[in-house]
C-alpha cells in the first residue's frame, strides 16, 4: 500500500484547520489509530456488537457443537427479519430521542388486518398488503399527532396504543383467535420456504457481488468528487479495507446460507429496506432534519424545520415498519394469531436498535443497528432454543441483554460528553 501516500488529504495550509487537530495519518495506520481514538472517546460504533457476537457464538458452540452449523445461520437469517423490521422503525423514533411502545401491538394488529382482508374478505393479496401498511402508517401518524400537536409525552401515547391496538387485534381475530394465511402475495415471499432465485447457489453470491461492487463504486466516485473539489477524502487504502471487510462478511454469509437452502427472500427484502432507509437518513434533507430534531428541538425550529411534521412523519414510518414486521412475523407461521402482539417482540426490537448502537438519547444512530442488534438477539435465541431452555430463562436473558445495551449506551454517552462529542 505504498502508493497510498499520494492520496492523503490536501495540505493543512488552509487557515480553517487548527494545527492542534490530531490529523488522521495517511493509510491504514491512521485508520487504526483513529478507530482507537474514537473508542476511547466513547464512540463505540459497532464494537460492542462484534465483541458480543463473538462471545455469544463461542459460548453456545462450547455448550453444543451443533450450534455452529449452516442451519443455525439460516434460522437466524430468517427469524431476525420480523422483529428487525420493527427495530428499523424504532431507529427512526429513537433518533428523535423518543420511544414507540406500540410497535409490537401494531404489528400484531397489522397481521390480523391482513388476514381478515385477504382470507375472510378475499381482497387481492397485494392490495391487502397495501391497506395493511396504510393502516400501520395511519396508526403511527395518529400517535405522532397526539404527541406532537397535543403535547402528550410519546411514552404515554404509545403505551396507550400498546394496549388499545392489542384489543383491536383480539376483536378482529374473533373467537377462533387464529386465521391461517394463504401462500400468496407478499406472504409467499415472507414465508420460510421462499429463497432468492429459488434457492439457487448463485443467489447469495449475486447479492454479495452487488453489495461489494456498489460500496466500491460509491466510495470511489465520492472520493473522486471530493478530490476534485479540494476537500478531504477517504484514502484509497481505507476504501479497500472497508470493501474487503464487507466482502468477507457478504461472501461468508452467502457461502454459509448456501450450505443450507439459500438466502431467504424475507432477508433480501429486509436488506433492501435497510439500504433505502440508510439512504434517506444520511443523504436526504428529510433525514438530516430527523437528526437535527433529535439533537436540539429549539435549534431545529429556529432553522425553519417544522418539528411537528417531522415527529408525525417519523411515527408514521414507525407504524408502517411495525405493520410490515407484523406481516413478516405472521409469515413465519403462515398465520395471524394472538401471539402476534407478543410484548416480547417490542422488547427485542428496542433491544436490537440499542444493541446495534442507536442511542436512546436521540440524535445518534444508524438503521444498520437494527440488523446488527437482531443478529445478536437471534443468535441468543437460536442457542437457547437448541439448549431447550424454557421461556422463563429466555425472558430473563433477553431482559439482561437489553439492560446491558442500555448501560453501554448510557456509559458511552457519558464518555462522549466528557470528550466533547455529544
Amino acid at each position: 500500500m505504498s502508493n497510498d501516500t499520494k492520496t492523503t488529504p490536501p495540505p493543512a495550509s488552509s487557515p480553517a484547520v487548527d494545527p492542534r487537530l490530531l490529523q488522521r495519518e495517511s493509510g491504514l495506520s491512521g485508520y487504526v489509530s483513529e478507530f482507537v481514538r474514537k473508542v476511547r472517546g466513547g464512540d463505540l460504533g459497532s464494537l460492542p456488537v462484534v465483541v458480543g457476537l463473538i462471545v455469544i457464538w463461542a459460548v453456545f458452540s462450547l455448550n453444543d457443537g451443533k450450534y455452529f452449523a449452516a442451519s443455525t445461520a439460516e434460522f437466524i437469517a430468517y427469524y431476525m427479519v420480523g422483529i428487525g423490521l420493527l427495530a428499523v422503525g424504532l431507529v427512526f423514533v429513537l433518533l428523535l430521542g423518543e420511544i414507540d411502545l406500540s410497535v409490537g401491538a401494531v404489528s400484531g394488529l397489522a397481521a390480523a388486518v391482513y388476514a381478515v382482508l385477504s382470507v375472510n374478505e378475499h381482497v387481492d393479496p397485494w392490495l391487502s398488503v397495501l391497506l395493511t401498511l396504510l393502516t400501520g402508517a395511519a396508526i403511527g401518524a395518529l400517535h405522532g399527532f397526539i404527541f406532537a400537536k397535543i403535547g402528550v409525552p410519546a411514552f404515554v401515547v404509545t403505551l396507550a396504543g400498546f394496549l388499545a391496538w392489542q384489543g383491536v387485534m383480539l376483536w378482529l381475530l374473533g373467537s377462533t383467535g387464529t386465521i391461517n394465511l394463504d401462500d400468496k402475495g407478499l406472504n409467499h415471499f415472507l414465508s420460510g420456504n421462499s429463497y432468492f432465485l429459488g434457492g439457487d447457489i448463485s443467489g447469495g453470491y449475486v447479492l454479495a457481488v452487488l453489495a461489494v461492487a456498489s460500496l466500491l463504486f460509491g466510495s470511489l466516485s465520492e472520493q473522486a468528487r471530493r478530490r476534485k473539489a479540494g476537500v478531504p477524502f477517504r484514502p484509497t487504502s481505507e476504501i479497500v479495507l472497508r470493501a474487503v471487510l464487507l466482502a468477507i462478511g457478504a461472501f461468508g454469509a452467502a457461502y454459509v446460507l448456501n450450505q443450507a437452502s439459500g438466502v431467504p427472500n424475507a432477508l433480501v427484502i429486509f436488506l433492501a429496506l435497510l439500504i433505502v432507509c440508510d439512504f434517506v437518513l444520511r443523504r436526504t434533507s428529510y433525514g438530516r432534519k430527523i437528526f437535527a430534531v433529535g439533537g436540539n428541538i429549539e435549534a431545529s425550529r429556529r432553522a425553519g424545520i417544522s418539528v411537528p411534521a417531522i415527529r408525525i412523519s417519523v411515527y408514521a414510518i414507525s407504524g408502517t415498519f411495525a405493520a410490515l414486521g407484523g406481516l413478516a412475523i405472521a409469515g413465519t407461521t403462515n398465520a395471524a394469531g394472538q401471539a402476534g402482539a407478543d410484548p416480547n417482540n417490542l422488547m427485542m426490537a428496542i433491544a436490537a436498535a440499542v444493541i446495534g448502537g442507536t442511542s436512546l438519547f436521540g440524535g445518534r444512530g444508524r438503521v444498520w443497528s437494527a440488523l446488527l442488534g437482531m443478529l445478536v438477539i437471534e443468535s441468543i435465541n437460536a442457542g437457547l432454543y437448541m439448549l431447550g431452555l424454557t421461556l422463563d430463562i429466555q425472558y430473563m436473558i433477553t431482559g439482561g441483554v437489553l439492560l446491558a445495551a442500555v448501560v453501554v449506551d448510557s456509559l458511552s454517552r457519558r464518555t462522549q460528553k466528557s470528550s466533547g462529542r455529544a
Binding site: 443523504r283 434533507s285 438530516r288 435549534a299 429556529r302 425553519g304 460528553k417
Partner: protein
C-alpha cells in the same frame, strides 16, 4: 435615509405570562444601516430579536417589511422575508457537525440528495473569511469552544441571501482578533447594502460600527441616537435611566402630542 426602511416595528408588544417583556416598541432599519440595540440585562433585546425572527410571535403592533405590513408567526416566515438571525444562545445542534449546522434547513442539493461536497466547500470558504481556526468542519459542534461555536452561528446567518442580519451579542465569547473580524464583517454587510441589527453591551464596539443606537429600557424605547452626534454619556444615561435628557424628553413630548 429617505427610502422606506427594510424592516420597521410599529408599537410592538410582547408578554410572557406575567412579564410584559416589550411595550410599544418602535424600531427602523434601513438598507445599508447598522442599528445598535442596547439596554441593560433583561431590557428585552433578545425578546425583540426573537419576535422579528418569528421565534415568539408578537402580541400587538405591526412589523413592516419594505413598507408593507407582514405577519411573522414562524421562523420560516422570517427566513423567507430574508431575515437571518444569530441568537444569543446560538441555537446549534450539538450532534451535527459544523457543515450540517451551517446549512441546517437550507441544505444544498444535487439530484435531490444532499450535496455534501459543495456544502463542505462553501463552509470552508465562509469560515476562512471569518479567519477562525476550527479543527475540522466535520467534527460535531459539541467539541468546539464557545467562541468557535459563536463564529459558526455567525457564519450560519450569512448562508442564503439575507437582507437583514440580526446579531444578538455576537462577540460576547470572542477574542480580540475574532471580535475585530466580526466588526469588519458587520461593515462589509453594510457595504453590501444589508440592514444590520447589532446587540452589544460593549460601547466601544457599538460606536465603532453602528450608525444609529436604539436604547431599550424595561421593555420600552428609551431614545434613538445617531452615533456620530451623540456622546457616550448620553447613551449610557438612556440605558440606565439615570438621568433624563433632551432626547427622551422630546420623545415624551411627541408621544404626548400624538395622543
Amino acid at each position: 435615509m429617505t427610502s422606506a426602511p427594510v424592516l420597521a416595528l410599529r408599537g410592538v408588544s410582547k408578554r410572557f405570562g406575567a412579564v410584559q417583556a416589550l411595550t410599544d416598541v418602535e424600531l427602523e432599519v434601513h438598507a445599508g444601516e447598522v442599528v445598535a440595540l442596547v439596554g441593560d440585562n433583561g431590557a428585552g433585546k433578545s425578546t425583540l430579536v426573537k419576535t422579528i425572527a418569528g421565534v415568539h410571535p408578537i402580541d400587538d403592533g405591526q412589523i413592516e417589511w419594505e413598507g408593507r405590513p407582514v405577519q411573522i408567526n414562524r421562523p420560516q416566515d422570517a427566513q423567507h422575508l430574508g431575515v437571518a438571525t444569530v441568537y444569543q444562545d446560538l441555537a446549534l445542534c450539538d450532534n451535527l457537525d459544523v457543515v450540517n449546522n451551517l446549512f441546517l434547513g437550507r441544505e444544498l442539493k444535487r439530484r435531490g440528495t444532499l450535496d455534501e461536497v459543495a456544502m463542505e466547500q462553501r463552509a470552508r470558504e465562509l469560515l476562512d473569511t471569518l479567519s477562525i481556526r476550527i479543527p475540522s468542519v466535520r467534527i460535531p459542534i459539541a467539541s468546539l469552544s464557545g467562541g468557535q461555536r459563536q463564529v459558526v452561528a455567525i457564519a450560519r446567518s450569512l448562508i442564503g441571501e439575507p437582507k437583514v442580519v440580526i446579531l444578538d451579542e455576537p462577540t460576547a465569547a470572542l477574542g480580540v482578533e475574532q471580535t475585530a473580524q466580526v466588526l469588519d464583517l458587520v461593515e462589509r454587510l453594510r457595504e453590501r447594502g444589508l440592514g444590520v441589527i447589532l446587540i452589544s453591551h460593549n460601547m466601544a464596539d457599538v460606536r465603532a460600527v453602528a450608525d444609529t443606537v436604539a436604547v431599550l429600557r424595561l421593555g420600552r424605547n428609551n431614545g434613538t441616537f445617531p452615533v456620530q452626534q451623540t456622546t457616550q454619556e448620553t447613551i449610557i444615561a438612556a440605558i440606565t435611566g439615570a438621568t433624563e435628557n433632551a432626547v427622551t424628553r422630546r420623545a415624551a413630548r411627541t408621544a404626548e402630542a400624538a395622543k
